[in-house]
């Protein structure tokens, strides 16, 4: 049927023009001058440090958010979270906030003149322009994912399994570990993957709180922008390509996990 082909062409055409071809072009632009320059660009001390920093920051922020997500998710789903509606609002707030606004909010709190700022400066504790600030910004932006993934699943499952476990003598920890956690594992995995992707790729908030100090507070996304500003196209594209490859892995994981969580 002609209309079917027309619709298909329209949809695929839009995707090609907006998504597929540009992403393909990045690969082309990255290796435009060969593989060597790319490898060089990724081996500089700045690049290595940026990678290291991105990973370390994510390695701290994401587990914090995941633990929070599990505890808060279960409590919210079971109606046992004090000030539940406030928590729900705060959890969804990062989705409504521009990354720049998130960075600014942290800046106003921990910077000079802020409620914590002066105290921190007086005691020589650096939050802004150092790693703790990066961790705070990253944890902020990656906060909602785990909660939002597991609450619907918990809502749908109900408490009957846990109640059954209780009648069989299981304590709270056993019930959590053997009943609750397995029942949400795919949704949880999906949320963790999204969280990690967000954490590794965060740019806007981190750029505000970090001061973008090369070799000290520069994460991989910040490195991309800095190189671009300095007309180091190959350098920028190389770092961007590395991040894009990570994203493709993330998308693959998302696809697999999304199917698992729909049909456990």
């Amino acid at each position: 049927m002609a209309s079917r082909l027309l619709l298909r062409a329209g949809a695929l055409g839009y995707l090609a023009v907006l998504l597929l071809v540009p992403v393909g072009m990045v690969g082309y632009r990255t290796f435009e001058h060969g593989v060597g320059p790319v490898v060089d660009a990724l081996s500089t001390p700045a690049a290595k440090h940026a990678l290291y920093l991105s990973v370390v920051v994510a390695a701290i922020a994401v587990p914090l958010d995941v633990v929070f997500g599990i505890v808060a998710g279960i409590a919210l789903a079971r109606g046992r979270m004090p000030f539940g509606r406030l928590v729900n609002l705060l959890v969804n707030l990062p989705f409504a906030m521009s990354p720049v606004v998130i960075g600014l909010a942290l800046f106003t709190l921990y910077g000079r003149g802020g409620w914590f700022g002066d105290w921190l400066v007086a005691h020589g504790i650096g939050v802004l322009f150092s790693v703790p600030g990066l961790v705070l910004a990253t944890a902020f932006v990656a906060l909602p994912f785990v909660v939002r993934e597991i609450v619907p699943v918990l809502d749908e499952l109900g408490t009957s399994q846990e109640q059954a476990a209780a009648t069989l003598g299981a304590g709270p920890w056993t019930t959590f570990w053997r009943i609750t956690l397995p029942s949400i594992r795919w949704a949880l995995a999906y949320g963790v993957v999204l969280s990690t992707a967000r954490a590794l790729g965060e740019y806007g908030a981190v750029s505000i709180v970090s001061g973008d100090i090369v070799g000290r507070t520069q994460t991989l996304p910040l490195l991309v922008e800095e190189r671009f500003r300095n007309f180091d196209d190959t350098g920028a594209y190389s770092a961007g390509f590395a991040l894009a490859v990570v994203s493709l892995v993330v998308v693959a994981a998302m696809t697999v996990l999304s199917r698992r969580k729909e049909h456990p």
């Binding site: 998504l19 808060a72 705060l90 521009s98 106003t108 709190l109 003149g113 961007g240 994203s247």
Partner: protein, 270 residues
């Protein structure tokens, strides 16, 4: 319940009030991480210069540009999102699974890399000679890129659940495909489309990383609100930056509140 009287699982502050340990810690975490900075932001914005900061020409221009382009983005997403969701659910072609997976790419890709991605094809040095860098088109392109999945993923499950027989019944009753879509399918997917478009709008409103590289950030021309705020921070005008931030945040929150209402109303109709 199993842990009714076990003291280690909760703190008895006052005989009648138990603060569960786990959820209590979670509450503390989210208040410290999110609540406090946002409160500090609002506090910093609440100066006598609030309105003058927000209505200053450059601020107003940035806000207006951002809102208008975000609305346009949401509208385009509504159309293309439904189209893509339709083709993915109802059509069969080789590579369909791959295309379906790729839709999630804007969710997974760092925004700064998204900026590079668009630059490589639509900026200077483009292989096809298209250069829209430093134009409003570029800003729109970036917004469309990062919001691509929202409507698609919102509408797909609804289409999947939709009874094919309803459409066949409409066809037997003489309806042309366009009529079937308008009268039978659209009413079913409208709430999901609205929610997806609303989320796309809220996201586009705050977008930064993908716009920064390709738009040139020209004041009064291609400077969006987030870039303006970033500029104010660099100049040291924190109250000004905070004021515009609060306005932006308020618009986004309002959108999400309206969406919540839409979802609730559609659920009642079900």
């Amino acid at each position: 319940m199993a842990d009714a009287a076990a003291l280690p699982r909760s703190l008895r502050l006052v005989p009648a009030v138990r603060l569960p340990l786990g959820p209590g810690a979670a509450l503390l975490y989210v208040c410290l991480l999110v609540g406090l900075p946002v409160a500090a932001l609002a506090d910093r914005a609440a100066t006598t210069h609030f309105w003058s900061s927000v209505t200053a020409p450059q601020a107003r221009s940035a806000l207006e540009l951002t809102v208008v382009l975000a609305i346009l983005t949401a509208a385009i997403d509504a159309v293309t999102g439904v189209l893509i969701a339709w083709v993915l659910v109802r059509d069969r072609f080789p590579g369909r699974g791959l295309v379906n997976a790729v839709i999630d790419l804007p969710f997974a890709l760092p925004t700064i890399v998204a900026g590079l991605v668009l630059l490589s094809l639509y900026g200077p040095g483009s292989a096809v000679g298209i250069d829209v860098a430093q134009t409003r088109i570029a800003v729109l392109l970036a917004m469309l890129f990062v919001t691509l999945p929202f409507v698609v993923r919102a509408v797909q499950p609804v289409l999947l659940a939709l009874d094919l027989e309803s459409e066949e019944a409409a066809a037997c009753l003489g309806a042309r495909p366009a009529q079937t879509f308008r009268l039978v399918i659209w009413p079913a997917i409208r709430p999901a489309t609205v929610v997806g478009a609303g989320l796309a709008f809220a996201r586009a409103l705050g977008e930064f990383g993908s716009i920064v590289l390709i738009s040139g950030n020209l004041p009064f021309h291609t400077q969006v609100a987030s870039v303006f705020i970033s500029g104010r921070v660099e100049s040291g005008d924190l109250p000004g930056a905070a004021a515009v931030s609060v306005v932006l945040l308020a618009v986004a929150l309002l959108t999400l509140a309206v969406l919540d209402l839409v979802v609730r109303r559609s659920r009642r109709r079900g």
